[in-house]
């Protein structure tokens, strides 16, 4: 299978795998700032349904996005067992609500397969590539889908 353009064959990459909506996804480790336990957020008016609200990250106000809802996998019923991954996308910081964080994957560029050209719900190009893992495969998330839609146009 063809390899996505952004990685060359001999790149060594690290991804953090996570579960959202029962499926396995992964994000490049360089984008992840920290991982926190879920705590209640402050709701925002007129926000899209995937944006749960904002929370206080040591003085900064960051939006929290329900990743499952964002990807069209249904709303996640947040509980203290859920995890927030704080991710940097460009100069923005955003928190992602996910079911759990699993492991760090170290793969070489050649192990990444191209994702089929079929989007997730209303989000084309949301998956950059696929990595085979023990229990099936993990989908590499495109950073742009992580942002609330209010920011996506500018990002």
């Amino acid at each position: 299978m063809a390899r996505p353009q952004q990685w060359s064959e001999d790149d060594v990459l690290e991804f953090v795998t996570l579960k959202a909506g029962g499926q396995s996804y992964c994000i490049e480790i360089t984008q992840i700032r920290e991982i926190r336990r879920w705590s209640p957020v402050t709701a925002l008016p007129q926000a899209e349904s995937a944006v749960l609200g904002v929370m206080n990250l040591r003085g900064a106000v960051i939006p929290i996005v329900d990743l499952a809802a964002r990807l069209g996998l249904g709303k996640c019923d947040a509980s203290p067992r859920h995890v927030i991954m704080v991710v940097a996308v460009g100069d923005k910081t955003v928190g992602l609500l996910v079911d759990s964080v699993s492991e760090i994957l170290t793969v070489s560029g050649e192990q990444i397969c191209e994702a089929p050209a079929m989007g997730h719900g209303d989000l084309p190009n949301s998956i950059l590539g696929l990595i085979s893992i023990e229990e099936g495969m993990s989908r590499i998330l495109s950073p742009s889908v992580l942002l609330p839609s209010a920011l996506r146009e500018v990002a």
Binding site: P45, N56, V61, I62, K92, L151
Partner: protein, 743 residues
């Protein structure tokens, strides 16, 4: 220090110099100038020219040179400036400021007014043609690559370069006077300039160096012997030293083959004395007489850098530094010492202090939850903590505070330029220049204020004929004032022009489809049409205002700063724009409220009063609307939770607490909320950085429990209410006059 850093320092210093210049030239016009003023202006122009030369800013140098020539004549008494000349000087200082701005924007564009002013300056300097030539030569002189140390370094490689036919050899003895650094000269620059003319050898004479404890870092103890070989004329060499005429000796040597390394004949008296004096101190004895080239460069770099950078600001305080002169001029005010700090550092500090305030609130809340008595020791310590944190915060905020003076001076310039262009006579009277506001506000106010001032000159002040016909003085007056008013800053721009032509405004608004043709609007409503997007009253587009950017841009800019702009006008008497701004953008007083299970903060500045209504005070209005009957007038009630979409269709009842808020746009409105819990200072956190703009919400803050509360934007709340806005207008009309009385 990189070149960019140096350039940034140059522009920062230019700001100070231009401020002096502008103040001085205004004093000259006002007739309150003495010799010191002229000297100060001259020094400012000279300093700008010198530094601009070092950066190769040719336009600036050319202009400053002509300006300086005129000022020099005034200074020496050769030229007694008449009103016209004073006007030229004033316009020149404006032009210089414009050129600095252009240079800062990396533009080499020549302002259209420049040639005319240059002509006038040349006229004043009396030597029009000759001077123009000088200026050109001067430009060449400054055209060299600044701060190049390399020519000195490379020079070693060419050390043995054989002399060629037609070359001249110059020997220059540079005896540095103690004022060398004080006047802002840097020998390194001179040397690199010389090195561009020909082959240069430098020899540094360290013999004048005193003992370490007698060392005055502001003095230059170094003397240099320079040998320059090449196809150079004496004039070219003298040009390099034109500002140092008294400080060096230049001698042409006929024998081109003369060995540069040969000791230079000692010509300078101090040096002769040095030769005869026995070595006195170890330090000096240790320094070899014939130092090899490389260490000299090092010494140059090390010795000259620090004092020069310390002294570039000297023109500001040149007099008092010199003790003798300082004593003589005891009467002149001692210049304030200031500190240049990177604003980012201050911002970091402000952020940290903001966190401290939040942290203090968290601790207070947690202690309260433990049920401690409020008179216990720890609670009173906590009060102290709170007090100190506030003090600290106020202190830090004060660092950012800046007087509006530079901003107002810039407006003086705008008025003069605009008036000149339109052929009107307008004077700007500035009041309250010492009022201090946040630096960010000063910076971000510049553009809207410029626009408003231009508008006032262009549209506000009538033409001279019309003014005479109306029995007004020909000279129009624009009053620009700043004052603190109950936690806000109030900036007013008042002109004594014709006032707003309401009929015309309404016509335009109707013709542009901004309001329906049959709209019945009150006078303030008509005035406010000016702020609508796509509105421009200019009957013909002038190149001053009416560039498609209307007052709506001004309004948006002010609103973004958390401020409000209002307009009032009297036909025939003039128009007044009032801008009220928060003192700072980082902290505000807020009322903590609860609505629909959410905690929100309402800016205290827009809260007029809070009301617990009796059932009979709430009057139904239409199907779902509710009005609050208060002191004989009716105010619409908005359910905050419903409006923000947290709840849907919740009824407004007398259970709710009503917060009466003031909106600049559409009068008053009462917000129905569930509870008011606190009134406190909150630290404003932007939502735009990581999220985006939310209608109805201006920012967020962090509460005592670490959770985020949203700050409501009272103006936007009313826009959000949509249909309700029309109702408000209707009620206003119904109750016209009464509502205003209620404030």
């Amino acid at each position: 220090m990189s070149r960019d850093d140096l350039k940034a320092t140059f522009f920062a210093e230019c700001e100070d110099l231009l401020e002096q210049l502008s103040e001085g030239s205004q004093n000259m016009i006002a007739g309150s100038a003495d010799d010191d003023t002229v000297n100060a202006i001259f020094r400012a122009v000279h300093s700008i020219k010198g530094a601009a030369g070092a950066f190769g800013l040719e336009n600036l140098v050319t202009f400053a040179h002509c300006f300086e020539t005129v000022l020099d004549r005034v200074r020496s008494g050769e030229l007694v400036p008449d009103t016209d000349a004073l006007h030229t000087i004033l316009r020149s200082s404006d032009m210089l400021a414009d050129l600095v701005e252009l240079a800062q924007a990396d533009s080499t564009e020549i302002p259209e007014a420049m040639p005319a002013i240059l002509d006038k300056l040349n006229e004043l300097s009396g030597t029009a043609a000759e001077d123009a030539g000088d200026a050109a030569a001067d430009m060449d002189f400054f055209g060299f690559q600044p701060l190049v140390l390399d020519p000195l370094g490379e020079e070693g490689d060419e050390h043995t370069a054989p002399a060629q036919a037609g070359e001249t050899c110059f020997r220059i003895r540079l005896t540095a006077s103690s004022d060398l650094f004080r006047n802002g000269h840097d020998p390194v620059l001179l040397f690199s300039e010389l090195a561009m003319l020909g082959h240069l050898e430098t020899r540094c004479d360290l013999s004048a160096l005193p003992e370490a404890d007698a060392f005055d870092p502001e003095r230059c103890y170094l003397n240099w012997d320079l040998t320059l070989r090449g196809q150079v004329t004496e004039d070219a060499v003298r040009d390099v030293f034109m500002f140092l005429e008294d400080l060096c000796q230049i001698e042409a040597v006929d024998d081109p083959g003369a060995d540069g390394a040969e000791p230079v004949p000692d010509l300078s008296p101090p040096s002769v004395a040095e030769e005869t004096a026995p070595p006195q101190v170890q330090f000096r004895a240790a320094a070899p007489r014939e130092t090899p080239p490389a260490p000299i460069e090092l010494a140059l770099g090390a010795e000259t850098r620090a004092p020069v950078s310390a002294e570039t600001r000297a023109p500001v305080a040149a007099e008092p530094v010199n003790p003798a002169k300082g004593a003589a001029k005891a009467a002149s005010p001692v210049p304030q010492t200031t500190l240049r700090v990177d604003p980012e550092r201050v911002d970091r500090l402000i952020n940290t202090v903001g966190e401290l305030i939040i942290n203090q609130a968290v601790i207070a809340q947690k202690l309260q939850e433990t049920g401690l008595a409020s008179n216990s020791d720890i609670m009173s310590d906590l009060d102290d903590y709170q007090y100190l944190a506030r003090e600290l915060q106020e202190g830090v905020m004060a660092i950012r505070a800046q007087p509006v003076k530079p901003l107002f001076q810039r407006m003086q310039r705008i008025v003069r330029e605009a008036a000149d262009k339109l052929g009107k006579e307008v004077v700007l009277v500035a009041e309250g220049e010492g009022t201090e506001i946040d630096k960010t506000l000063v910076e971000r106010l510049a553009e809207p204020l410029t626009h408003m001032i231009r508008n006032a000159v262009d549209h506000g002040i009538e033409s001279a004929e019309k003014r005479i016909a109306a029995g007004k003085p020909v000279m129009g007056t624009i009053r620009l004032s700043a004052a603190h008013r109950s936690g806000d800053v109030l900036i007013e721009i008042a002109d004594d022009g014709a006032g707003l032509n309401r009929k015309r405004i309404l016509e335009i608004a109707v013709s542009k489809g901004l309001v329906p043709a049959d709209a019945k609007l009150s006078e303030p409503e008509i005035d406010n049409l000016l702020f609508m997007a796509g509105f421009s009253t200019a009957e013909k587009v002038t190149n001053l205002s009416g560039r498609g950017v209307g007052m709506d841009v001004v309004k948006t800019a002010i609103t973004m700063l958390g401020g409000k702009v209002t307009i009032s006008s009297r036909p025939g008497e003039g128009t007044l724009f009032s801008i009220s701004l928060p003192l700072t953008l980082a902290v505000m007083d807020g009322m903590v409220i609860h609505a629909a299970g959410q905690t929100l903060v309402a800016p205290l500045s827009s809260v007029l009063e809070t009301i617990r209504p009796r059932p009979q005070d709430i009057v139904p209005y239409g199907r779902e609307g509710r009005l609050l009957s208060i002191r004989g007038t009716y105010v619409p009630i908005v359910h905050l939770g419903n409006l923000l979409g947290f709840t849907c269709g919740d009824e407004i009842s007398s259970e709710n607490i009503l917060i009466l808020i003031r909106s600049e746009r559409s009068g008053h409105v009462a917000l129905a909320v569930d509870e008011i819990s606190d009134q406190r200072q909150v630290v404003v956190k932007s939502l735009e950085g990581n999220y985006g703009v939310i209608e109805g919400i201006s920012a967020a803050t962090i509460l005592g429990d670490g959770r985020i509360a949203l700050i409501i934007d009272t103006d936007a709340i009313l826009t959000l209410a949509g249909d309700l806005g029309r109702d408000v207008a209707l009620i206003e009309e119904m109750q016209h006059g009464k509502t205003a009385a209620m404030v």
